[in-house]
């Protein structure tokens, strides 16, 4: 073993990125490249009565304009046949005059320059027959509230163990509270961009995505192409946070535009368009009921979650999933319900369900602790789950207790005065709050190819992606470790469907899935080298996760927040933050630290700043830019201390790794809300927590 795993290796792609050598999707210069800009519907739902393209066509430099009238050869079905697996926003785009949501693309303007395309797009006259949008999550919606079929095909929407009613009845303390969270937008700095190139009936897409193989399948399905005719390339992606999981309409539009004009076309989505085109975290309404004995033992938990989805898509924000197993409790009921609104289809956003669900559950735990007169951390420890009571299996590993201990120690939790508003500094109320963090460990099949060269190097290729996570570096370390090579002798290439198939780079599963595949391929290459005696070998391997659920695997953490609240002005500033995490074997403590730090910073935004303002009359987001949609700036983010708690896990996968991309954001909003309560005595049950909540 070379010791590559566990080293604080600098990013292997760092130099390429800071010197501009790294090519992001918008950086591919191609001969004859044309530029496309989307025309989006200003309102929705409704029907396009007419599109006036005369003025746009006459704009100098404009080459073509696509609408539902000419994008597909007739006859056109409203939904692309055979594309059921594609997000409905994309399988319906430019196929009919129906507008399902504000922000839906209704046209594409292709021009010789980006400027001409922008100007042309502004001159397209869309005449819409609008209908009033249904946007109230608690209203009747499009179809009424209903239960989804499943949660991502992995779990049932509802769960029940024990007898909730009995536990509730017999408990000494009961809490029945409702929480809400609002639409959020991912806002990666690299806007979604696609460059499409046709050669005959073969299509190459340079696409800013989290899954080249997914885009390949989806585009082939929507355009009716054989999958092997579509190649997707994406070596560098500038941030995603879940917004690049699905194949969104702009990717389809770029392919259609390039086919229409017979030249390569690059389509960049504008910042404003991102607020209506590429998903977003749905709103949630959550009811949490907790019942406990006088000594704080949980006797009943019910967590009911409702989120909005689109008219044709079923997206579940699985808020109550962590509640099923996070604490020991004999009687637990959870439900998930959906309400169809006239919106884009929501999507995965960093720790879907866990970021939103732990806000509710971990706020409720804090409320219960207060009602019991118990320390919030002591309440968690009193209900520590020794195994997964939902699945009835042991944990593959669970150093959560150590996370609590190490985090609390570092934070100084034992000095917390339980009395509300008792701590002051610089004229401000000081509050301390904590919450449990958790994210399930996923693993999917993956494959990788390894070539060992005569000069003692290794070349690793697979189709996975690095959208800033550090995957390039960590996967290099896995190969170096297994091959017993220094990391600089390992060259890795990713982000191309011509490389071996990989699962979506989401759900914090890349290390567990792709790391395992690379380790397997490296072992196989060594064996092949020894067996054949050749100087060069090239092998491919595919890894499969174990099917049987003999254990339950999650990344764990404990979040501790200090806030200062101005008692008169209501301003909240996070002044200290400590997060302690156990996530199996840490391949690269440096990139892992960055992931967890970034998760916490994003959680601060969720807790205090991020708010989608959607106009109730037209359904479009009115604060659709980074001046109006607030994300944390440097002074909003304090020094964050991230503690990596050692956790040996021999079961989860051969590498012993869990994901760390998402666990960092979970529990952050609750820890901050709990700290605000400790400081002020005001319990804010919705996000973001704003000045008017505390005046």
């Amino acid at each position: 073993m070379s010791g590559a795993i566990g080293a604080k290796l600098d990013r292997v792609d760092g130099r390429a990125k800071v010197t501009g050598v790294a090519r992001y999707t918008g950086d591919w210069g191609l001969p004859g490249l044309l530029h496309a800009v989307l025309v989006t519907s200003p309102a929705g739902p409704g029907r396009v009565a007419a599109i006036d393209v005369d003025a746009a066509s006459q704009t100098p430099g404009v080459v073509a304009i696509l609408t539902h009238e000419n994008a597909f050869p007739p006859p056109v079905e409203v939904e692309a046949p055979g594309a059921e697996g594609v997000v409905p926003d994309s399988r319906t785009v430019l196929r009919s005059p129906e507008v399902l949501y504000a922000g839906q693309p209704v046209g594409v303007v292709v021009a010789r320059s980006l400027e001409a395309a922008i100007e042309g797009a502004a001159r397209v006259g869309v005449v819409l027959d609008p209908r009033p949008p249904q946007l109230d999550l608690e209203g009747s919606g499009v179809d009424g509230i209903f239960a989804p079929k499943s949660i991502y095909g992995m779990e049932p929407p509802d769960s029940e163990r024990g007898d909730f009613e009995r536990g509730w009845r017999e408990a000494a303390v009961r809490l029945d509270v409702r929480y809400s969270t609002e639409w959020e937008h991912h806002n990666p700095i690299e806007r979604h961009t696609t460059t499409a190139v046709w050669e005959g009936d073969r299509l190459t897409l340079y696409d800013s995505t989290q899954w080249v193989n997914g885009v390949q399948d989806d585009v082939a399905a929507v355009l009716g192409l054989p999958v092997e005719n579509v190649r997707v390339i994406s070596p560098f992606v500038g941030g995603a946070f879940g917004s690049k999981c699905e194949t969104w309409p702009h990717t389809i539009c770029a392919a259609l535009a390039a086919r229409h004009v017979g030249a390569p076309v690059r389509l960049e989505v504008t910042r404003q368009q991102l607020f209506g085109l590429v998903g977003g975290r749905p709103q949630t309404r959550q009811r949490v009921r907790l019942a406990a004995s006088v000594d704080g033992k949980l006797m009943a938990i019910a967590h009911d979650s409702l989120n909005d989805t689109s008219a044709r898509g079923d997206f579940v924000e699985p808020c109550a999933v962590p509640t099923r197993m996070l604490y020991s409790c004999p009687n637990v009921v959870t439900t998930h319900r959906l309400n169809r609104l006239d919106i884009q289809t929501p999507t995965y956003m960093r720790a879907p369900g866990h970021a939103t669900g732990t806000f509710a559950l971990e706020s409720a735990m804090d409320e219960l602790a207060f009602a019991l007169g118990m320390d919030p951390l002591a309440l968690r420890l009193a209900n520590y789950a020794d195994h997964d009571e939902n699945l009835g299996v042991p944990w593959s590993s669970r150093e959560l207790r150590t996370c609590y201990e190490r985090g609390a120690q570092r934070f100084g939790w034992e000095r917390r005065n339980p009395e509300l508003g008792s701590q002051r500094q610089d004229g401000c109320l000081v509050g301390w709050g904590m919450a449990t963090a958790n994210y399930h460990t996923l693993q999917s099949p993956a494959s990788a190819r390894v070539k060992l060269t005569a000069d003692g190097r290794a070349e690793v290729r697979c189709a996975t992606l690095d959208f800033g996570t550090g995957a390039y570096t960590a996967l290099t370390q896995v190969a170096a470790e297994v091959l017993e090579l220094p990391p600089d002798r390992v060259h890795i290439e990713i982000g191309d469907t011509d490389f071996p198939w990989c699962p979506i780079a989401a759900g914090s599963q890349t290390m567990a899935s792709v790391g395992t595949a690379i380790a397997l391929a490296c072992q196989k290459a060594r064996q092949e080298l020894a067996r054949t005696g050749r100087r060069e070998v090239e092998v491919e391997a595919r890894s499969e996760p174990t099917r049987e659920k003999k254990w339950s695997s999650h990344a764990w953490g404990a979040q501790f927040a200090e806030v200062q609240v101005d008692p008169e002005l209501g301003t909240v500033r996070v002044t200290r933050f400590v997060g302690a995490f156990a996530a199996g074997r840490i391949v690269n403590p440096k990139t892992a630290h960055s992931q967890l730090l970034g998760g916490i910073a994003m959680g601060i935004g969720q807790a205090l700043l991020e708010e989608d303002q959607r106009d109730p009359r037209w359904g479009r987001v009115v604060n659709a830019d980074l001046a109006g949609y607030l994300v944390p700036t440097q002074p909003d983010v304090p020094d964050i201390e991230v503690i990596l708690v050692p956790e040996a896990d021999r079961l989860v996968n051969p590498l012993g790794v869990k994901g760390i991309g998402e666990v960092g954001i979970t529990g952050v909003a609750a820890a901050i809300a709990n700290a605000v309560f400790h400081a002020t005595g005001k319990r804010v049950r919705h996000l973001p927590i704003q000045i008017e909540d505390l005046l």
Binding site: P42, A122, L609, P635
Partner: protein, 325 residues
């Protein structure tokens, strides 16, 4: 964004002559507001006259006060020792606005004329009386959490976004303007129009008139002045409420007061009612609260911005307390 012509002016006279001659030609200084609005198609001038090549004297001391050339960058004013010593509220107001990059570009003259951040004003598909007279106001029944509670009308509730202008309003600054007919000097109190029925008419400037300087007269008690800004985010955000305050206190009595409010009004808001309560009254919290209440009696909140009445009261009281020490 439409295509437009671009030219550089070598003198204020030539710039004024060029712009005044044609209705759709406009001045360009730092561009931090104008270019943004052009990209949004809110502004669509046929030509821009770039002023930044005109020689600029910068910040000059005049009779104990200062004259600030209109092309002086915001960051230069905020960093000026003269300003920081004599008019700290002005330096604080500027430093609290925008981001370092924007402050390096933005000019004093441009800052006075920056347009509202009302989302509906910036969205050309939404009806807006400020953009299109008579079209209606989308903010009245739309999102208006950040909108004005003072100086509003049934036609417009858009907040004036400038921090700097609030400080200059407290300081009784004079805006020096050059037109085809020569110079004129406008007290800042008379510079802005309340929206009334004509929210598209924002200032007294005629087309082609150019701000060449801002003069801030000596104010002996401004040395201890403050600008307090309250907002959701710690930086890079417009005010939900702000207060510019200078007090002259002797023997526990307020002898003179200058108060202006930002983030809550359709124009930089001189708080004369508060000043009247403060002047001659005991310098204590009770007086400050009375003054704040008096000023906000005129507040007309709507569905989502009612909290601003209380927030503005508290912001003003806090600023008064800080200045009173």
């Amino acid at each position: 964004m439409n295509n437009f012509a671009y030219g550089r002016a070598s003198s204020a006279e030539s710039a004024v002559a060029t712009v005044a001659a044609r209705p759709r030609v406009t001045f360009l200084a730092g561009g931090t507001s104008l270019l943004d609005l052009m990209k949004l198609d809110v502004e669509s001038p046929e030509a821009l006259v770039d002023l930044t090549g005109i020689p600029e004297a910068g910040i000059v001391e005049v009779d104990g006060g200062v004259r600030i050339g209109a092309l002086t960058r915001n960051s230069e004013v905020a960093a000026s020792h003269l300003i920081r010593e004599r008019f700290p509220l002005l330096a604080e107001a500027i430093a609290s606005g925008a981001s370092p990059q924007l402050r390096h570009m933005a000019t004093v003259g441009g800052n006075l004329l920056q347009r509202t951040r009302c989302a509906y004003f910036r969205d050309v598909l939404a009806p807006c009386n400020k953009r299109t007279p008579g079209a209606g106001c989308s903010a009245l029944d739309g999102h208006h959490r950040t909108h004005a509670i003072l100086g509003t009308s049934d036609a417009c509730i858009a907040t004036h976004p400038s921090d700097m202008a609030v400080a200059l309003t407290a300081l009784d600054a004079t805006v020096v303007v050059q037109g085809r007919e020569g110079d004129r000097r406008i007290p800042i109190r008379d510079f802005y129009h309340l929206p009334g029925d004509t929210p598209h008419v924002e200032t007294v400037l005629a087309h082609g008139e150019l701000i060449t300087a801002v003069e801030v007269p000596l104010l002996s008690f401004a040395a201890g002045s403050r600008y307090l800004k309250v907002r959701d985010r710690a930086t890079y955000e417009f005010a939900l409420a702000s207060a510019a305050v200078a007090l002259e206190v002797r023997d526990g009595v307020v002898r003179a007061a200058r108060v202006a409010l930002g983030g809550v009004a359709t124009v930089p808001w001189r708080a004369l009612a508060a000043e009247r309560v403060l002047t001659g009254a005991a310098c204590n919290r009770e007086t400050f609260e009375r003054a704040a209440r008096a000023e906000l009696e005129a507040a007309r909140p709507r569905r989502d911005n009612g909290f601003k009445v209380e927030l503005c009261r508290r912001t003003l009281v806090r600023a008064l307390e800080e200045v009173a020490g």
